[in-house]
């Protein structure tokens, strides 16, 4: 495959602001039709990266292909094929939802039907209301509708659900899933682990301007040593067998292992034999959040 086959291909992207290195050598590849999430804490370089891809910012170094174009050139040919939901954007508050979408749709050669776009964004009921009258969450939906107006192949969503209540977030996720069904490629930034896990086919974790891990959520969880965590309580004074590898974690015990069957067998065998009651037994796969916190903490530690 050549550079142009991917929706996005980034090699050695760097961005410095004066002496501050916001992005220090990022390589990324996003295939067509996939949802890709760039996950990282605030200030890690997510927005800088996505805004360079959108053409809003210049880069210091690196090669970029977005749908075969260099976004730094500001070509209308690329802008016609891309939709952008920025973190903070405005529309004219005195126009109605329909007028705003219609206005933006007119900038594109082959826009999607205006009412269909409004429906996709979940704004059919608010269609004839002025943007000024809408709630914050509804205005965020206007952002999405505007980004979809030109029927883009590639959609950038920069922290699309920040500030949403939990039910609005779930609704927004449903909307994004609906878009993937239309064959759109989606590049998403977020600092919510559950969002990345729920939506993304593949993701990359960025910390301190560098990619510290990338792959599917399963690959990321599996790639770190102990993928399963077993937690339980024991009566005072009871100590599990050494072979189980348990350690004290607060008022409970914890085992982190790659071989949970064996660990559980050892633990429950020992409990039956010694007639020790095991309380609050939990067996959890490590979550993406654990991986994320570990990786981003490692990145900070090496600073």
């Amino acid at each position: 495959m050549t550079l142009a086959d991917a929706a996005i291909d980034l090699r050695g992207l760097r961005k410095t602001y004066g002496s501050l290195e916001a992005v220090r050598g990022i390589d990324l590849r996003v295939e067509r039709g996939e949802v890709f999430a760039l996950l990282g804490p605030n200030g890690a370089g997510k927005t800088t990266t996505v805004e360079i891809l959108e053409g809003h910012r210049t880069r210091t170094a690196g090669e970029i292909s977005v749908l075969g174009h260099d976004p730094g050139r500001n070509e209308p040919a690329l802008k016609r094929r891309v939709g952008i939901v920025l973190q903070q954007t405005g529309v004219d508050l005195y126009l109605t939802v329909r007028e705003v979408v219609e206005m933006i749709a007119g900038y594109y050669p082959a826009p999607r039907d205006v009412d269909e776009v409004i429906g996709l964004a979940g704004l059919t009921e608010q269609r004839d209301q002025r943007v000024k009258k809408l709630s914050g969450g509804q205005r965020r939906r206007v952002d999405l509708a505007v980004a979809l107006a030109g029927d883009p192949e590639l959609l950038f969503l920069d922290e699309p659900t920040t500030g949403f209540d939990p039910s609005a977030r779930r609704q927004a996720w449903e909307t994004v899933r609906g878009l993937t069904a239309l064959g759109k490629t989606i590049f998403l930034t977020t600092h919510f682990m559950d969002e990345a896990q729920a939506l993304a086919d593949r993701l990359a974790i960025i910390a301190d301007g560098q990619i510290v891990a990338s792959g599917t959520a399963d690959e990321l969880i599996g790639a770190t040593s102990a993928a399963t965590r077993i937690r339980f309580r024991l009566p005072d004074g009871a100590i599990p067998p050494d072979a189980a590898g348990a350690r004290v974690a607060g008022s409970a015990w914890e085992i982190e292992t790659d071989a949970p069957t064996r660990a559980l067998n050892l633990l429950t065998g020992w409990a039956l034999e010694t007639e020790t009651p095991i309380g609050d037994l939990e067996v959890n796969r490590r979550s993406l959040e654990d991986v994320y916190l570990q990786l981003t903490a490692d990145a900070e530690a090496t600073e």
């Binding site: 053409g55 809003h56 209308p76 802008k79 920025l86 004219d92 126009l95 007028e99």
Partner: protein, 246 residues
């Protein structure tokens, strides 16, 4: 759609949004008339021959320079400009839409002020030199639009916009034969005002109103205004920004 059609379409949307904020629209039109009435009361009956063309000039400057410098800065802070920048709309077509709308409002104001001057104060509209009057209005509104856009590049954010805009235009209006007839001013004030474009806009309009067909064609005034317009265009190209500086 080609760029020109897109720009015209943009004017229509700007216009629609403008009229949906009636208090803002009302005071946009009432503002120059309030000044006109107050000046006529303060300076007496004979003053209307001066203040009708002077307030016409003030109206055009308010509608273009003041209005664009303020609203474009606010739109920039709100992220409207950045959003437009991410679409295939040519940037010039968007700005042309905003300028076009400002000029439409400016011309409506001119009609209202000239009409009010004629009806309320009997100040005759200079029909005999109407093509020249229109040329002065076109060059004036285009130049002050360009300067207004250039100034947005010097305004860091919308909080600073009213201070910067007022501080740059009000003193100039006072020394440029618009708010006060300048005949008794010290020579250096007269000299300074001749460097700036407002004085030339005012002198051209006052001359056409006062002398009618006997007025000289205002070459020099149009030249200075156009020169400032060119500086505005160069400044806008150099300093215009699609995102606020924070």
């Amino acid at each position: 759609m080609n760029g020109l059609a897109l720009a015209l379409r943009q004017i229509r949307y700007e216009n629609r949004a403008f009229w949906r904020n009636p208090p803002a629209a009302f005071f946009t039109f009432a503002f120059p008339l309030i000044f006109m009435v107050i000046f006529n009361v303060l300076f007496g009956e004979g003053a209307s021959a001066f203040f009708t063309p002077a307030i016409i000039v003030f109206s055009v400057i308010t509608a273009t320079y003041t209005n664009l410098a303020m609203t474009v800065t606010i739109a920039r802070d709100e992220g409207i400009l950045k959003r437009i920048r991410g679409t295939p709309l040519p940037p010039w077509a968007y700005l042309a839409g905003r300028i076009g709308h400002a000029i439409v409002i400016g011309f409506l104001l001119v009609v209202i002020v000239a009409g009010f001057g004629a009806i309320a104060y009997g100040v005759e509209i200079p029909w005999a030199v109407m093509p020249t009057v229109l040329l002065v209005l076109v060059v004036g509104s285009a130049s002050f639009s360009a300067i207004g856009l250039a100034v947005t590049g010097l305004i860091p954010n919308s909080d600073a916009a009213p201070a910067v805009v007022n501080a740059t235009i009000l003193p100039v209006l006072f020394i440029s034969n618009v708010f006060i007839p300048i005949e008794n001013a010290p020579a250096w004030v007269d000299a300074v005002s001749h460097i700036l474009p407002v004085r030339h806009f005012a002198d051209a309009m006052l001359g056409l109103y006062a002398a009618g067909s006997a007025a000289d064609f205002p070459w020099q005034e149009l030249g200075v205004m156009a020169g400032w317009g060119l500086i505005g265009v160069i400044g806008a190209l150099r300093f215009f920004s699609w995102e606020p500086r924070r």
